[in-house]
C-alpha cells in the first residue's frame, strides 16, 4: 500500500511491521512523531508491544538493553543530544551483543542550541560498535528498519538507522508499505539463544580479566565483518521479496566518472540530482552515496572509486582538529589502494542547506586544482 508520509512515520511503520515487542523512547525534536505514532499504534493495539515512556534517553537505551537481553525485539528512536546521552549504553548494547535497532534523526550538536540537521551526532558514535545505515528517502527508512533486524539478529550486533532532520524526518513523500505477511516471511520472530531464562540461568556481562576480555572484543569485530557479508547477502533477498535493492554503497554514474562525489544522507540525494545536471553539461561526474558506515564496506568503496581521477568527499560533519569524518574514513580505507587526489569539503553544518549549486561550486573549484592544497575546504561560508 502506498501512502504519503513523513520520514518519522516511515520509521514508525517500519518498526510496526518488524513487530517490535518493546519500545522505550523519550521525546526530542525532530524525532517526536516517531514516538507519537508508535504510542498510538500500541494504544490502539495494532501492535502487541510494551511501550515504556522512560524519563530520559539513557533509560530508553537501558530499557532496550534489558528487554533485548530478555529476548524481546527492542526499538527506540532519538536524535542528537538524546543519542549522545545514550553514549555509554551504546557501547553497552554492542558489548552485550544485543540486536537492538534504533533510528537516529541527524541533528546538529549543541551548543549553540539547534534543531537542524548535520551528521556529527551519529558519526561521533562510530566507535561504539553499532552498525550505521544512512538513508536518503522515506522508503529506504522504512525498508532499512526491517532489514536491520534481520542482520542484527543474525550477527548479534545493534543497528542505527540514520536520517536527516527535517529534510527527511519532516518531509512527506510516497512510501510503499509492504504487506505484513511478506514482512513476517522475510523477518522471522526473534529467538534469542542467550536470553535471561529462569530455566537455564546464566549471568551476563560479569567481570572479565585480561585473560579473556580481548577475545570477546575480537568476536565483536568478527561479528561486524560477518554483518558486512550479511548485508550483501540480504540485498538480493530483500529485493526478491519487496522489489527494492539496498547495498552498502549506492553508486550513480560512477563507472565512467572522472570526478566522484562521495556523499551521504539527503545531501547524496541532491548530489544525484546535481550529477544529472552536470552530466547534461558534459561533465564526467558521478556520485557514490555511502549507505553503510559500520561495518565499513572496504571492498565496495575501493572498487567503486578505483576509476576516478579525482575524489571529492562532502562531509556534513567534522572531527574538530582533523578532517570531515567521512573523509577520514574513506581516505584511510583507500590508503595503499589508491593514489587518486581526494578533496574534502565540509558543508551544511547545523542545517545550512546543501543545494545543487553547492555541488556545482565544489566541482568548479576542484576542476581548477590537480590535488588538494588545503586539508579541507569549507563550503558556502560567510567569510
Amino acid at each position: 500500500m502506498k501512502k504519503v508520509m513523513m520520514g518519522n512515520h516511515a520509521i514508525s511503520y517500519g518498526a510496526t511491521l518488524a513487530r517490535v515487542q518493546v519500545i522505550a523512547a523519550y521525546p526530542i525534536t525532530p524525532q517526536t512523531q516517531v514516538v507519537e505514532l508508535l504510542s498510538e499504534i500500541v494504544a490502539d493495539q495494532k501492535l502487541k508491544a510494551e511501550f515504556i515512556k522512560v524519563e530520559s534517553e539513557h533509560s530508553a537505551m537501558a530499557a532496550c538493553i534489558g528487554a533485548s537481553s530478555a529476548g524481546a525485539r527492542a526499538f527506540t528512536a532519538t536524535s542528537a543530544q538524546g543519542l549522545a546521552l545514550m553514549h555509554e549504553l551504546l557501547h553497552w548494547a554492542a558489548g552485550a551483543r544485543l540486536p537492538i535497532v534504533m533510528a537516529n534523526i541527524n541533528r546538529a550538536m549543541a551548543p549553540p542550541w539547534t534543531i537542524w540537521t548535520d551528521q556529527n551526532d551519529s558519526l561521533s558514535q562510530r566507535d561504539t560498535g553499532w552498525m550505521q545505515i544512512y538513508c536518503q528517502s522515506n522508503q529506504e527508512v522504512l525498508d532499512s528498519v526491517i532489514m536491520a533486524y534481520k542482520v542484527a539478529e543474525k550477527v548479534l550486533m545493534p543497528v542505527m538507522i540514520v536520517l536527516d532532520a527535517f529534510s527527511l524526518s519532516h518531509t512527506y513523500e510516497s512510501v510503499d508499505i509492504p504487506d505484513q505477511a511478506l514482512v513476517d516471511k522475510y523477518l522471522p520472530a526473534f529467538d534469542y539463544k542467550y536470553k535471561l531464562d529462569v530455566k537455564n540461568p546464566h549471568t551476563y556481562g560479569g567481570l572479565t580479566t585480561p585473560d579473556w576480555y580481548m577475545e570477546f572484543r575480537i568476536k565483536m569485530h568478527e561479528a561486524m565483518e560477518q554483518a558486512l557479508v550479511e548485508i550483501k547477502k540480504e540485498a538480493p533477498v530483500f529485493q526478491k521479496v519487496f522489489g527494492r535493492f539496498y547495498d552498502t554503497v549506492d553508486p550513480y554514474m560512477v563507472d565512467d566518472a572522472e570526478t566522484v562525489l562521495v556523499t551521504s544522507g539527503t545531501a547524496a540525494s541532491t548530489a544525484r540530482f546535481a550529477v544529472d545536471q552536470l552530466r547534461a553539461e558534459g561533465k564526467k561526474v558521478g556520485n557514490l552515496r555511502m549507505r553503510v558506515l559500520r561495518p565499513f564496506p572496504f571492498a565496495d568503496v575501493r572498487q567503486q572509486l578505483k576509476n576516478a581521477k579525482k575524489i571529492i568527499i562532502v562531509d556534513r560533519d567534522i572531527s574538530y582538529g582533523y578532517h570531515g569524518i567521512w573523509a577520514q574514513e574513506v581516505k584511510s580505507a583507500l590508503y595503499g589502494h589508491s593514489q587518486v587526489p581526494v578533496f574534502n569539503f565540509i558543508a551544511g553544518l547545523g542545517g545550512r542547506d546543501i543545494f545543487p549549486e553547492t555541488y556545482y561550486n565544489i566541482i568548479a573549484l576542484v576542476e581548477k586544482k590537480d590535488k588538494p592544497d588545503q586539508e579541507l575546504y569549507w563550503v558556502e561560508v560567510k567569510k
Binding site: P201, T203, Y204, G206
Partner: protein, 97 residues
C-alpha cells in the same frame, strides 16, 4: 548452571560464547585460602538454633542432619558465626601456619 567445582579452562577462542556469560558456579573458587582464623564448632554445646547458618555471608555453613557443618573450602573466617552463636560454642582459632 553447573555446580561443578572444577575451574573452566578454555583453550581456544571458539570455545567462548559470543558474549560474556557464566558457565559455572563460583563454587569453583575455594575461598578457604583467604582465611586467617578458622571457626571450630563444639557441637556438644550446640543447640541447633541455625543462627550461625543463617548469618554466614559466604553460605559456608551447611545444615546437615540437623547440625551446622562448616565448609572449610569456602569459609573465609569472618567470625560472624562465632560472634552470633548464642551458646558461644564456635571458637575462632588461628590457621596453622
Amino acid at each position: 548452571m553447573a555446580k561443578d567445582r572444577k575451574k573452566i579452562d578454555f583453550k581456544k577462542m571458539e570455545e567462548l560464547p559470543p558474549m560474556v556469560m557464566s558457565l559455572r558456579s563460583m563454587a569453583a573458587n575455594p575461598t578457604g585460602s583467604w582465611r586467617n582464623l578458622k571457626p571450630v564448632i563444639d557441637l556438644s554445646q550446640c543447640i541447633q538454633c541455625t543462627i550461625c547458618w543463617k548469618f554466614c555471608p559466604d553460605a559456608a555453613i551447611d545444615w546437615i542432619d540437623g547440625n551446622p557443618v562448616i565448609n572449610m573450602d569456602f569459609c573465609k573466617g569472618c567470625g560472624i558465626c562465632a560472634e552470633e552463636c548464642p551458646k558461644k560454642c564456635i571458637e575462632m582459632i588461628k590457621e596453622g601456619k
